[in-house]
């Protein structure tokens, strides 16, 4: 990517933007429990939530720097398998569409996460309203 903030014009539908590898670390689970409570610690909701978090972290790492003020309008999250604690997950980020509707700039990014054994864990599609 580039030093200046990535603009709407920079996105090319179909283009892979990069990948990010990160472990589902116990510290992430602890942080999640501080927000959502410890009652369901270690459960599937925690794992699924952290899969969403890892997808977000991958997008934020790969698509950087971003203009301030972007917001997310929609997300589709297909959960193929919940990651295991300690597992390294590779998330690939791709631009799949961009559109201008009612003067708003929409960018669709796909983030696909793969576990250590090669199984696909999740496919997320984020529709973002890009600031400029």
């Amino acid at each position: 990517m580039k030093a200046q903030a990535i603009t709407f014009a920079d996105f090319e539908p179909g283009r892979e933007l990069g990948a990010h590898v990160e472990a589902y670390a116990p510290a992430l689970a602890t942080s999640w429990q501080r927000i959502f409570g410890r009652t369901a610690a270690g459960g599937m909701a925690e794992g699924a939530s952290l899969a969403v978090v890892l997808a977000m972290r991958a997008y934020l790492k790969v698509v950087s720097p971003r203009p301030p003020g972007n917001i997310q309008a929609r997300q589709r999250f297909q959960m193929h398998g919940v990651p295991h604690t300690g597992e390294a997950i590779r998330s690939e980020v791709r631009c799949i569409d961009k559109q201008i509707k009612r003067e708003r700039l929409y960018v669709d990014l796909q983030v696909q996460g793969t576990g250590e054994d090669g199984r696909v864990l999740y496919t997320a599609v984020m529709r973002l309203v890009w600031a400029h």
């Binding site: 959502f36 003020g69 193929h80």
Partner: protein, 135 residues
């Protein structure tokens, strides 16, 4: 096949500034629209708003409370963030089984005070999921 419940159990969360900061740390999403009141005041939002994906965490909690671990296998969640979540709101997540699609729930996250939607969408469960049983 066991009957799926008609509704998903509610899951709640009250949004306070420390919670937004903690979620920003967790996601590494430090967008000033979530954290900087002066910046947010200059946007159409007018004030800081919570991260949208925080609400998705509540949907997953509602699903686990209602149907257990097996429901997560190949679950397909598709949601729209229809209204920003503001400080002080208590969110409640839930869902209602569609009559015409027996494995799909309409899901939502609402402000508990006036029941207005913050997130709406669908949650489709995999075949041949049965209530609480491993497929």
């Amino acid at each position: 096949m066991n009957q799926l419940p008609g509704t998903l159990a509610p899951a709640r969360l009250t949004v306070e500034p420390p919670l937004i900061s903690s979620y920003a740390d967790l996601t590494q999403d430090f967008n000033p629209i979530h954290l900087d009141p002066a910046f947010a005041a200059r946007t159409p939002m007018g004030e800081v708003i919570a991260h949208g994906t925080m609400s998705i965490g509540l949907i997953w909690q509602s699903l686990e409370q209602s149907l257990g671990a097996a429901a997560f296998a190949d679950a397909d969640l598709d949601v729209r963030f229809v209204k920003p979540v503001r400080l002080g709101e208590t969110l409640v997540a839930g869902g209602s089984l569609r009559v015409d699609e027996p494995r799909t729930y309409d899901v939502w996250v609402r402000d508990d005070r006036d029941n207005s939607d913050r997130l709406v969408g669908s949650l489709r469960l995999a075949t041949p999921f049965t209530n609480g049983a491993t497929p």
